[in-house]
């Protein structure tokens, strides 16, 4: 069971990379908790979650080998 994580914007400053692979994560809530444990700065950071390029609003089961994108808001113009 592997999940590909893609990060955008200033989330990459927090994680130090723009993509990585997570093992044995089954839904988006447990993914978020795991990421917050590893990167505490994520706790106070807003981002939207897309699973296989579709935005999600509630906890979502993650299929094997799916791609989860975390996108923060941008305000600059």
């Amino acid at each position: 069971m592997k999940v590909n994580i893609l990060l955008f914007g200033q989330l990459t400053d927090i994680t130090g990379e723009d993509s990585f692979v997570m093992e044995d994560i089954f839904d988006t809530d447990s993914m978020a908790i795991f990421l917050q444990k590893n990167y505490p700065a994520l706790i106070n950071t807003k981002y939207l979650i897309a699973v296989d390029k579709k935005i999600i609003a509630t906890n979502t089961l993650l299929p094997d080998n799916c791609t989860v994108a975390l996108l923060p808001p941008f305000s600059g113009g």
Partner: protein, 375 residues
Amino acid sequence: MKSENTTYERYQRQMILKEFGEAGQQKLSQSKVLVIGAGGLGCPALQYLAAAGVGTIGIVDDDIVAISNLHRQPLYSTFDIGFSKAATAKSHLTKLNPDIQLIAYNERLTTQNALTIIEKFDIIIDGTDNFASRYLVNDACVLLNKILVYGAVSQFEGQVAVFNYQNRNGDAAVNYRDLFPTPLKDGEILNCAEAGVLGILPGIIGTMLANETIKLITGIGKPLINTLLTYNALNNRMYEISLSANAITQSLIPNNKAAFEAMNYEWLCSSGNARFEIDIATFNQLQNLPLVKIIDVRELNEQPLPTGFDFTKIPLSQIKEQAASIKDETVILFCQSGKRSLQAAEWLFDKFGESKKIYSLKGGILNWINHSSTQ
């Protein structure tokens, strides 16, 4: 002098595209586009929309040209520093294309003027540079049922999307709050001034905004309807995600003109303590309004007790449990020094969100009593 011949010559290269043609040019000339923010995103969008022959273009910006703008806003020149962006943009664009109508709004978009300005246009481009304006523009477009072409940048990346587009299938139109339902505090995400931005990036994203707008007007191609595109200027990675309407979003958007005008977007997007704290003068004004509840969050036996206004005592230790009993629209919290009331304000905001106005008396009741005794 404008003649049919010069009009044809001006637009000939795009009119010979069979998908575009004379009909596409006609649609552009009859369209009205409002560009909010004549900055990094707004300048290139304006230049290409004016050049393409959009019949009426509105420009909203209350800022003046600064030297630090020029690396990403090449519509302006060094000679324009210190002058109004809206008026200067209009002047340059008129030289580029004197056959179109340009309207400069040299004012900041607020809840008081937004609806009047926006309702005159068909398509709105959000090229603003802060969250307060972005939520204001979004909510106004939802309220007026206007298509919103959204763009934003940060450092080396940009986002583009088309919001509030009612398609023929009757699918719910997506808006910015479907991505981020509640306003973000400006301090949470750094803006261009703090985080920096590669000058060419808003140029790329701004021209994409113009491109989406031209596609929407002429009906060619596939605009980014209900789709968020992210572009990374460093590795040229483009990533599209499909968006869907979120059930809670509609309840967060003011549903009539009066409710919109009563919104305080600056406050909703202000960061940290500034979001809740009020000074003594504001406290004294607010306490006389109807539907206001003043709560002392100190322990039950703490002194001194203020006089001159009614209040309820709910100690900080019990505020979460007793929150449901608070029915008033406006809640003002105080404690001895202003620290516990600020904590209580944050907890109550987590529970009630934007459904209540929540304030904390800065400096606490000791400061208020001292101030009152010296008046």
